[in-house]
Amino acid sequence: MEFKRKHATVFLGALWLVVLAAMYKVLFSLGPLKEELLRYPGDPMRHGYKIFFFSMEAAAITYIAFAVVLIGSALYLKSKDMKWDRIAASSARLGIVFTTILLINGAIFSNLAWGAYWNWDPRQTSSLFLWFTLAAYLTLRGAVDGSETRARLSAVLGIFGFIGVPLTHISTTIWLSNHPVLYNTAQSSGFSLDQSGLILFMTLMSCFLLLYVYLLWFTVKIDVLEEKSQKVFSGEL
């Protein structure tokens, strides 16, 4: 069988999912983390601790997706190159997926840790705000005809919408929150990660980041092909 490029991309995607799962499994069955988990066998927080990582990785990717939307939008307005618009739009589409993962995992964690799926924690609420911002961005894209106008207007909204990221980030320090933090500050009240947790976070982070980059590249490519096929249908090519 001839090994084509499209097979390579599918293979690469599948490989990353396998590596992600394996790494998660391995890291949790090793060292101090495992001891930590085994110390309280009946504690529901054991699973909370696990799912917390997925929620936090998704949050990190959501921030990155927002940053890519911001940068793509700014570069589009500067250069009027459709390439940047495609990147910003694809990043927004991925961002809404990762924010949904964040919200669902966050809700499960919230139920385990605080006893309610929606705890109205500032971080939960502000993450939902990020989801709505991306939804607004994609709504605007759907409502504007003409690729140039759509790119220009959505770029403006993409830059505007970035305000949600710093707002989400500072929300836990402004309002009283029970949300765990990565680095302990004077204001935070939740638990913070120990060293093995930090290693796990960083390893999973690189996996999630590569997954995001891979999916972004894939989505942009689909966009390019879609535009090409439309041109073929309308007889331009």
Binding site: S126, T133, A143, V144, R152, V156, L157, I163
Partner: protein, 224 residues
């Protein structure tokens, strides 16, 4: 930024509005009827109604303001006067400031009537000072019109723009809507002093950031 030109655009808009009264009448009737309806959210004179009062009041103002927002730029686009406005020797920034100011005046005008109506219908006793409540409402209004006018210009060339506007404005305003309700509750229910409320500072900084962003990005909306 040219205050004289801004004043002239605002005066033109107000004049046109007061002649036809097509938006202002709708806004007033809408706020009146929704205040009436929201009164049935709890037993009359009940503490529950006192509890939700500030929030309901702010929601009425937000949804009333939404009616006015969708008219500000879209009306110019529909009647074809936008090109005239753009051709006139006014900088694009001044057009945005003028529209924002006009929307603010429209909202404050409605609220000037709707706020006493709220006090009467809800039989409301404000715990803090009334002036503080006005200042919080004013700041909330400013935040609303700054973001709203900008977004109203953004959706001008979209399909079914009035609908899209609601979906885009509300997420962008969500933080400031929540902040305004929190500070309004602190003033009207808890009776705190305005300067001791942290959320007010956040509203002011949000308005500041949004104003700067809007004035930078506005020229990109109008370029065709």
């Amino acid at each position: 930024m040219n205050p004289v030109l801004i004043y002239r655009i605002v005066r033109k808009d107000l004049k046109a509005e007061l002649r036809g009264k097509e938006t202002i009448n709708f806004m007033f009737l809408f706020s009146f009827i929704s205040l009436l309806m929201f009164n049935f959210a709890g037993e009359p004179f009940s503490p529950a109604l006192t509890e939700v009062g500030p929030g309901l009041l702010w929601f009425v103002f937000i949804f009333t303001g939404m009616l006015g927002l969708s008219r500000a730029f879209i009306k110019e686009k529909e009647t074809g006067t936008l090109e005239g406005l753009l051709l006139s020797p006014v900088s694009t920034g001044d057009i945005l400031y003028a529209k924002t100011l006009y929307n603010l005046l429209l909202m404050l005008g409605i609220q000037f009537i709707a706020f006493p109506l709220f006090i009467v219908l809800f039989n409301y006793n404000i715990a803090g000072s009334t002036l503080d409540a006005f200042i919080v409402l004013f700041l909330g209004n400013v935040a609303f019109v700054v973001v709203g006018s900008f977004m109203s210009a953004l959706v001008m060339s979209a399909k079914s723009r009035e609908l899209v506007l609601q979906i885009i404005v509300l997420p962008m305003l969500l933080p400031v809507i929540i902040l305004t309700i929190i500070s309004l509750r602190k003033v009207m229910i808890t009776g705190l002093d305005l300067l001791s409320i942290d959320e007010v500072k956040l509203i002011v900084s949000y308005v500041g950031i949004m104003t700067i962003l809007a004035s930078i990005l506005f020229e990109y909306i109008l370029e065709e």
